[in-house]
Symmetry: D2
Subunit: 137 residues, 4 copies
């Protein structure tokens, strides 16, 4: 399993009338979580796309346990539970400064060839970078 943590502060523009982080704005936080996880592996998502591979989201599942408030400093914990093939699954936890679990989520993304628009396997060098995190002892 590969795991990565990053921090994000809730912006005023991301809150809603209840004073909470709007439920739809977590998706952008999950995006930051997985993009920073890939960057930590040496794969800025921009480079993946520039090399002709798109990664559209196919599924999103979120459970909201407790609200995040304006200016909260959130920790997004991103995990890749299994080696990607045509799909890559990310799990997320969003925790507040007291380590309270606010949200759990997962997304499934598919590797797509930009030219053909068809699914393809994950790039070899991404797999090579991930492999050590999934090696069996």
């Amino acid at each position: 399993m590969f795991e990565h943590r990053c921090q994000l502060r809730v912006r005023y523009g991301e809150t809603d009338r209840m004073g909470y982080l709007y439920y739809g704005n977590y998706a952008e936080h999950f995006e930051v979580g997985r993009v920073e996880a890939l960057r930590a592996l040496g794969f800025p998502y921009r480079r993946i796309e520039d090399e002709g591979v798109l990664l559209p989201v196919r599924e999103l599942h979120v459970r909201y346990h407790a609200p995040a408030h304006y200016d909260d400093l959130l920790t997004v914990i991103t995990r890749v539970p299994a080696m990607p093939e045509v799909r890559i699954v990310f799990h997320y936890e969003v925790r507040d400064e007291r380590d309270v679990l606010l949200t759990e989520a997962s997304t499934t993304l598919v590797f797509v060839d930009r030219r053909t628009g068809r699914p393809r396997r994950a790039p070899h060098d991404l797999l090579a970078a991930m492999a050590p995190h999934f090696s069996v002892s």
Copy 2:
């Protein structure tokens, strides 16, 4: 079952670098779907909130089948499959102008008393307005 349809056009600001409606922005479209469904029943969500009842989202599940593009005129079909109690579930379909199913989703929301912050049953008059749609013959 209660069903409602409304139309939404994809704004430029809602698209992303792929030219698609960004995966996180569907949540706002689902919000419009359920808010307009409640309005059609005679319950503007603003009034529900002004009467001291909040409806935070507890779960969101989305399956993205095909992308929506800039300026597409989308139809959001919102369904309430069962009479609400403490929770209310909404199902959504997003279809394009050729009736192609782009996205399926569901959200679970909980009725919360604004003062106490605790779950409560759905307001009686909302239940009364919904009942005819679920009556058994």
Copy 3:
């Protein structure tokens, strides 16, 4: 002068902790205003872009007189005060249901050739469609 009106309802996700339409979200409403104005002239912005002309925004000026609230049905009045050349200027007024002026704004956009990335004059057929609105008697 060319003028166009359209209506937009403030979404929950567009509000902020004050319960107001977030100041940054008006930009998307202005976008809808000018896009619908161009559509009314027979020029869906998507088609302009598909024909190789981009219209990036160069300037934005907004004066916020009074807040818009959740679920308010806003009227966006979009005006083109002068025939476009390399630039096109749009003026906006946002009014609430009692015709109170909430916001005034203007944007300046530049016609850019997609291939070369350089400024160019407005497309001839757009000018032809606009001309009758600016004819001198």
Copy 4:
């Protein structure tokens, strides 16, 4: 003059179909700029609001010189050019990693008493914290 710098990375969800940071999304970056500037002075905006002072935006002016792209690491330079009274003005520059000036902007905000809804002078302790940055030699 008081000056503060912070960095922000352009999120995928903030881009548009042109691949640029959408023109309306800069407003949230300016918000981060001024909030972090106030925090650096010892005044988290959340605390200002919790103490009963709101700071709605009255004016926004933006000049877009060059586009910001997906994943660009932007520097937001926020300046307060004059001691606030009832109003506080912020100037912003957004620069990319090669220090190219992408955007210049300013916002005018008004101190408002939450209970009365009326303008008021800036809090004394905020003025005290700012004064050293504007002292005349």
